[in-house]
Symmetry: C2
Subunit: 103 residues, 2 copies
């Protein structure tokens, strides 16, 4: 399996972040991850239980490649966490403001 | 010519706004419009002078249909203004925070 791609902090772009969050499902995934103190598996972070795995995995890939989440393989699971420090360093208050708008 | 479509305040969605702003050119257009006290024509609000008119008009259509700008026909010109009050009512601080991130 190919290693998972994560952009470096400096390569995270505003257009990429906005585009990745321009989807209600992905907004809910990020919100869900933010409310956890620990990493979450893709299935645990799914906004509803009946989303096909391929759809879910596509959403996580888009979030990861835009620099919104960090994914770590743990056995057969992928564990995810929001890259809050990187995002806040690049775009202060952006993530918080967008998520507040999603309420 | 068909009348220009503008969504009502309540029909402006977060995903639509983020998607419309997920483009460096459109971010610059909105930024330019915000810095003016008055409406601007599409040409005057263009971020650079050599953008084809069709490209520019497509960017303005996307911004308009997402509820970011209000366009009024004035003779042969289209005059544009950012729908700040509507956007701030729907998503407090969102536009300002995104534009600050674009600096």
């Amino acid at each position: 399996m190919a290693p998972l791609f994560h952009p470096s902090r400096d390569d995270i772009t505003l257009a990429g972040v906005l585009s990745a969050l321009a989807d209600p499902m992905r907004l809910r995934i990020v919100k869900g991850l933010m409310e956890q103190s620990d990493c979450m598996s893709c299935t645990a972070a799914a906004p509803c239980p009946d989303i096909p795995k391929s759809t879910l995995s596509n959403h996580f890939r888009i979030l990861r490649e835009a620099g919104l989440i960090q994914t770590t393989k743990k056995g057969v699971e992928h564990r995810n966490v929001v890259r809050e420090a990187d995002l806040n360093a690049r775009f202060p208050k952006l993530l918080k403001t967008i998520l507040a708008s999603a309420e």
